[in-house]
């Protein structure tokens, strides 16, 4: 058989995994791999920073449902990937990262641009490989894609020394995958489905609580069918936005620290939680000891370690969300739709009494929530919405209506500031026909704004809305509420002219400073399609995110405004006999 270099095998392996785009930054150690890439049909998008390349690959994976791929060189190239890897791990994003390593003879010698990449990324990846022989490259790539995409998706890293990339091999195609320790379970246990259905049928205050696992499994259709068949009100997590249509009458929105009053309180008062593809994150549960105190829990997840990690499950089900929901639907069969009028009436009462709200005065400063609502109105909601991390992220999740999966991309678990710009670039690269709009904060934006150069150069026309409040807004909000308004190091204090800044990078820059400028400027941004557009909205610096449950606090106490806490009696159960 003909001999080819490890690097050639690497690139053809990526091709045979169906990779169409990779995001990366070259360097000395990865150099051999960039040579065959030059002739490959795979599109390489040159990021300006490896962190950007990693988040681009994440955005691509979120939007397309495929495995995202990023490439970096050894040492600093690889260490710059650690944040996106950790981000992808906690948010279950399928990713394959390829890093060059210094030549084998230099490994361990503190050589130039050497870092122990496999060691450093061990706890930031689902699995990683150090390939020491060009014969093993084809197998490593094939296994990496398999591991990244199956079971609970996640990032896999392959580290390859330069001489191994340059070395010759006759092994061009992978062998059959043999991973004796890796057998993700996709089918739930049928007896558990039976138990679950009988609990659902007999519950009086059930809540269907769905998360990112639904979107990863493509199970949104099954969620809707179960909710309708069993008449279940539905709460989504931040990661699960779009897993259930927000316009559906059974939708309660997001729960938790900044969730809607109704969603958060519904869980507190529920007698049954049907939790699917969620991990009971502390941003949802608040103090776990006081979370959903009356509820029995059905918990289905593909990752067995998530079940019982935070909350004991009465009915644990290990399996793929789509299969498990299918089993539940089969088991439910043609049972009558239960009458849950009284429970739904209670929820409606809360919805009316404590809606999401903000106060936009015509001559006052721009409220960020108003920007989100106007964006939603003017796009008809037909966009992939990407966000950074902080107040703007919460407002985006609260005030946008998600009716479909894979239209909401954010960093939920790691909370990575600077996620939005590169993730939007990756999403748009993967879904060029979709409108990709990112909502970012000024603090976040300044962390990865150089990736707009990538967007402009590669002609990836993303749109970015900066909510400029001159501060690290969420941290400032906590200082306001819990540190007597001592704004230690949260006021950015810069005089950045964002319009000039982004114009200098090859983008169109727009600005709105008053409420009446908001709609026209959004319309202008939507009309431009040949270049990236950045719109700066100069927003009210004092606006805070509500509702709010303080970190580690109980979900029985929801702050609906800076001075208003609505307290629930933890033992109090809503009267279900009350009439609308």
């Amino acid at each position: 058989m003909t001999k080819r270099t490890g690097a050639e095998v690497l690139i053809t392996s990526l091709e045979s995994e169906g990779v169409d785009i990779v995001f990366g930054v070259p360097g000395g150690a990865i150099l051999p791999a960039y040579d065959p890439l030059y002739d490959s049909p795979i599109r390489h998008i040159l990021a300006r920073h490896e962190q950007g390349a990693g988040h681009m690959a994440e955005g691509y994976a979120w939007a397309t449902g495929k495995v995202g791929v990023c490439i970096a060189t050894s040492g600093p190239g690889a260490t710059n990937l650690v944040t996106p890897l950790a981000d992808a791990l906690i948010d279950s994003v399928p990713l394959v990262a390829i890093t060059g390593q210094v030549a084998t003879r230099s490994v361990g010698n503190d050589a130039f641009q050497e870092a122990y990449t496999v060691g450093i990324t061990m706890s930031a990846t689902k699995h990683n490989y150090f390939v020491t022989n060009p014969d093993d490259i084809a197998d490593a790539v094939h296994e990496a894609f398999h591991i990244a995409a199956t079971g609970r998706p996640g990032p896999v890293l392959i580290d390859i020394p330069k001489d191994v990339l340059a070395g010759l091999t006759t092994n061009h195609t992978p062998q059959e995958i043999h991973l004796p320790g890796y057998k993700p379970k996709s089918e739930g246990h049928y007896r558990k489905a039976k138990e679950a259905v009988s609990l659902i049928a007999s519950a009086t205050r059930p809540v269907l609580y769905v998360g990112g696992g639904i979107i990863k499994a493509g199970a949104h259709e099954e969620v809707r069918r179960l909710a309708e068949a069993a008449n279940l009100p539905v709460v989504t997590t931040l990661m699960g936005r779009g897993a259930f249509p927000d316009h559906h009458p059974l939708a309660l929105g997001m729960s938790g620290m900044h969730g809607t009053y109704t969603a958060t309180t519904a869980i507190q008062k529920a007698d049954l939680l049907i939790a699917i593809g969620v991990r009971f994150d502390d941003r949802v549960t608040g103090d776990p000891a006081s979370f959903a105190p009356h509820a029995k829990v059905i918990h289905a997840d593909i990752d067995p370690a998530e079940i019982g990690k935070v909350r004991k499950a009465d009915v644990p089900i290990v399996g793929d969300a789509r299969r498990v929901l299918g089993q539940l639907l089969d088991e439910w069969g043609d049972r009558e739709v239960p009458d849950r009028t009284s429970w739904l009436t209670v929820l409606d009462g809360w919805r009316r009494e404590y809606p999401l709200h903000y106060d936009q005065q015509p001559d006052g400063p721009i409220k960020p929530q108003y920007v989100i609502e106007e964006l939603y109105r003017l796009t008809g909601g037909d966009a992939i919405l990407v966000s950074g991390v902080g107040q703007h992220q919460m407002w985006a999740s609260q005030f946008w209506k998600f009716d479909e999966p894979r239209r909401w991309i954010n960093s939920g678990g790691l909370g990575t500031m600077g996620f939005a710009v590169p993730a939007a670039v990756g999403a748009k690269a993967g879904m060029p026909d979709e409108l990709v709009y990112a909502i970012d904060g000024d603090g976040c934006f300044q962390m990865t704004l150089q990736e707009l150069i990538t967007a402009a150069t590669e002609q990836i026309p993303v749109k970015i809305a900066i909510m400029n409040n001159g501060a690290h807004g969420m941290v400032k909000q906590w200082q306001e509420l819990f540190y007597s308004g001592r704004f230690s190091a949260t006021l950015l204090g810069d005089k950045v002219d964002y319009v000039q800044l982004v114009e200098g990078m090859g983008c169109v820059g727009l600005r709105a400073q008053t409420p009446e400028e908001v709609a026209p400027v959004i319309e202008k941004s939507l009309a431009i399609d040949d270049r990236p557009v950045v719109v700066e909205f100069v927003v009210d610096p004092d606006e805070m995110v509500f509702p709010m449950v303080r970190a580690g606090g109980t979900n029985d106490e929801v702050m609906i405004g800076p001075d208003t806490i609505v307290k629930q009696d933890p033992n109090g159960i809503p009267r279900l006999d009350m009439q609308p």
Binding site: V118, G119, M122, S123, K126, H127, F130, I147, L179, P180, G181, Y182, D303, P304, A305, G308, K309
Partner: protein
Amino acid sequence: MQIQHTLSVLVEDRPGVLARVSLLLARRGFNIHSLAVGPARDDGTALMTIVVEAPELEQVKKQLHKLINVVKIAELDPEQSLEREIMIVRVSAPSSRRGEVLEVAAIFKAIAVDVGPATIAFQVTGDSTKLRDFLNLVRPYGITDLVTSGRIAMAREVKNNSASLRAIG
């Protein structure tokens, strides 16, 4: 409460697996009391005996299972398993007290593996209770050096076997 659990973990014998396992336990906040590893019965696999301190073992097992190179995990009930550690301990034994020290050693089937003018090094094999008991008895003479192997363990074929067998081992 931190309770000690003994786990027998079959892993693929690949570079870095020990690091993965120990890193995972550290990352999740589980304290490793001892970890012994060696080749397993089948080629390409290794067996780790991990004594871990954790409030409840379920999470430890589930997290370990997430490692791609971990093939099988079994929790070993001390009552239902063979547990061994090797200890080499050097005891002060001047000629005046040498007889006494050797007598104690004989009771524990401790083997003298190195004898000098002032000390004797003993090799003792057994479960952790036996090793501890031996140490307590020789401590008054003066321990000058001590090394233990960490625990290895294997499930018994016949469960509920007589406790007397354990004592002899």
